[in-house]
């Protein structure tokens, strides 16, 4: 606000700076800080183990699946929605792609199957929300229950081991010394960033989330777009499922438990508005990394579950309070 009354040009530039300073970036800086502090603690407590290549790749591979889900979640939330069904969709995809029937057709079909199932579920969410006018929370809650149930039904609650030769060979391999899973994660994230910040689709997502009526009056087909956003989230879940199956060399109806909470938490901590209209992909990435690093540091220092939980809560609040402070300096909104 301060800069406004200066001369036009000055106001323009300073306010731009002000925005740059007050909105996204300063928050991201704050997040980065939190992450670095975490790393510092990790290194201080376990200098031998923390910064080893092995440990870093462990952290990243742990982050991969939830990270991909969070990318999709960022779109849904930016569009003013919410998706509680991601975990269940991961489970269902992982189960469906690992049934004997599917496996018998080989890796390609398994992947295809996962993508179809995941995107399909997402689309159903989208149609319910956009055309059925069901509140996102409820629509995806229903999907959360149904998809999990279907997964249990299909798998008979058995963990289905992957025997299809080559699946592990493909997804647990290294590429230029970096595990494939991490590559996928990075690629999905990069694609998500571009899609959100550099394409019409991204702008419209933010418009729909920020003011659906305005978007409609501007001639955007809000419903169609909403449906697409949820389908996209489902697609991300499918990719996550593929990763989880690679990690666990098996598909089970218990996969993806609590992913919804972890993903939403990462996205919101990353600075995406739960009310929609503003989304930060980089923030999401940092959010995911913060949470995974946290549990890694805990493990390295063999904390007990209860202590872990208490600490986790405290740290989340701290992380956000830091942001709140920085934001306060910025816009009054």
């Amino acid at each position: 606000m301060n800069e406004r009354t200066l001369t036009p040009t000055a106001s323009a530039t300073t306010s731009k700076l002000g925005r740059w300073w007050s909105r996204t970036d300063i928050r991201l800086v704050a997040l980065l800080l939190v992450l670095l502090v975490l790393c510092a603690v990790g290194y201080a407590t376990r200098p031998d183990a923390f910064l080893t290549e092995g440990n870093i790749s462990t952290v990243l591979r742990l982050a991969a699946a939830i990270g991909v889900v969070s990318v999709g979640m960022t779109f849904v939330i930016s569009a003013g929605g919410i998706d509680l069904s991601v975990g269940s969709i991961v489970a269902l995809s992982s189960v469906w792609m690992t049934t004997w029937a599917t496996q018998s057709y080989g890796v390609a079909v398994m992947v295809l199957c996962a993508v179809l199932v995941g995107t399909g579920c997402g689309l159903v969410n989208g149609l319910l929300v956009a055309y059925g006018r069901v509140v996102p929370f409820i629509a995806t809650l229903a999907m959360m229950a149904s998809a999990r149930g279907l997964a249990e039904r299909i798998s008979g609650r058995q963990t289905q081991v992957v025997d299809a030769p080559g699946y592990s060979a493909v997804f647990n391999a290294d590429l230029l010394g970096v595990p494939v899973l991490i590559w996928i994660f990075l690629i999905v994230f990069a694609a998500g960033w571009v899609l959100l910040n550099r394409t019409t689709f991204g702008r419209r997502t933010l418009a729909v989330g920020g003011n659906a009526e305005a978007a409609r009056l501007a001639g955007i087909d809000v419903r169609r777009h909403t449906a697409l956003v949820y389908a996209l989230a489902g697609f991300c879940c499918a990719i996550a499922a593929i990763m989880v199956v690679a990690r666990t060399t098996s598909g089970a109806s218990t996969n993806g438990m609590f992913y919804e909470l972890d993903a939403i938490a990462a996205v919101v901590i990353g600075g995406t508005l739960l009310t929609g209209g503003r989304g930060s992909m980089t923030g999401t990435l940092l959010g995911v990394l913060i949470f995974t690093t946290l549990s890694n540091v805990f493990t390295l220092n063999n904390l007990e579950t209860d202590v872990q939980n208490i600490a986790k809560g405290a740290i989340i609040v701290l992380a956000v309070l830091v942001q709140a402070r920085t934001r306060r300096r910025g816009s009054t909104s």
Partner: protein, 323 residues
Amino acid sequence: VANDPPQERSAAPVAAGGDNAEPGKHVRIGFSAPAADHGWLAAMTTNARAQAEKLPDVTFRPTEGSTDVNRQIAQVETLINEKVDVLVVLPADGKALTGVAREAMRAGIPVVNVDRVFDSPEAYRLWIGGDNYGMGVNAADYIAEQLRGRNVDDPVIAEVAGTDSLPLTQERSAGFREGLAKHGLRVSRRVAAEFTAETGEQEMTNLLQAASRLDAVWNHDDDQGIGVLAAVEAAGRDEFFLVGGAGSRQVMDRIKAGDSVVRATVLYSPSMCSSAISLARLLGQGRGMSDLAEHEVPRSVTTYSAVVTGENVDRYLDIGFAS
């Protein structure tokens, strides 16, 4: 907050063993178990710690805190990165953790697989665990015998299972079903709780509503048993008798007192985790089990699911865990 029950806590059991008690080569034992979100799992972890403390030549390296297999995989990887001498793994899901366990074996770290079994033999050096199927069968046999004693014709038998998505629950149910079948009996009602007192109470309350008359009930797990009993008492029903599972201290006391519908409990004792640690130590030191002729620790150990009843309860009180 000080929080000690008036009656003394059951001391964590320690395996005894001939000359193996003598300290040997120092061993770092890595331990990974799912988040101890209910009594039995908690007891497993506590027993492991306690056992390790009793052993002067062992450093214990526990990791905790996850129901998500991916997290546990990451934890085991961390332990491998740290190059512990022996790994003791109680997997959240045996099949899902087979991969990492195999890695560990390949990395030359012997793996002791506790309870939920890995998918491939090359993923572990030693498996020690309970007999879920046998547990169901023993429960069935006991119930059949009791009913025969009371000679009720076509009795109503109900089952309160644990978390349905776990294989162990399915094995127990299978054992129970087939066990009863041997005696020409069947399970007429089945509900599944989630190993917590609250869900136990909810499911049992509903069950009691659904079945106006019951003759026998098997409850898979004594943690949820607290809730199950609460429900029974709330409903003021006592026309049936109840058999527990796992063997918690509370339930054993109830059996001893004989003042409730609980007649027996089928063991599935967390003491197996104590044994797992001491066996892990032997593996690390390359010793065998001194009471056996074998020079090596065996490939697999299956604990016995004894049925604890009013007659023999005193013999088992020491391994009754605080749920």
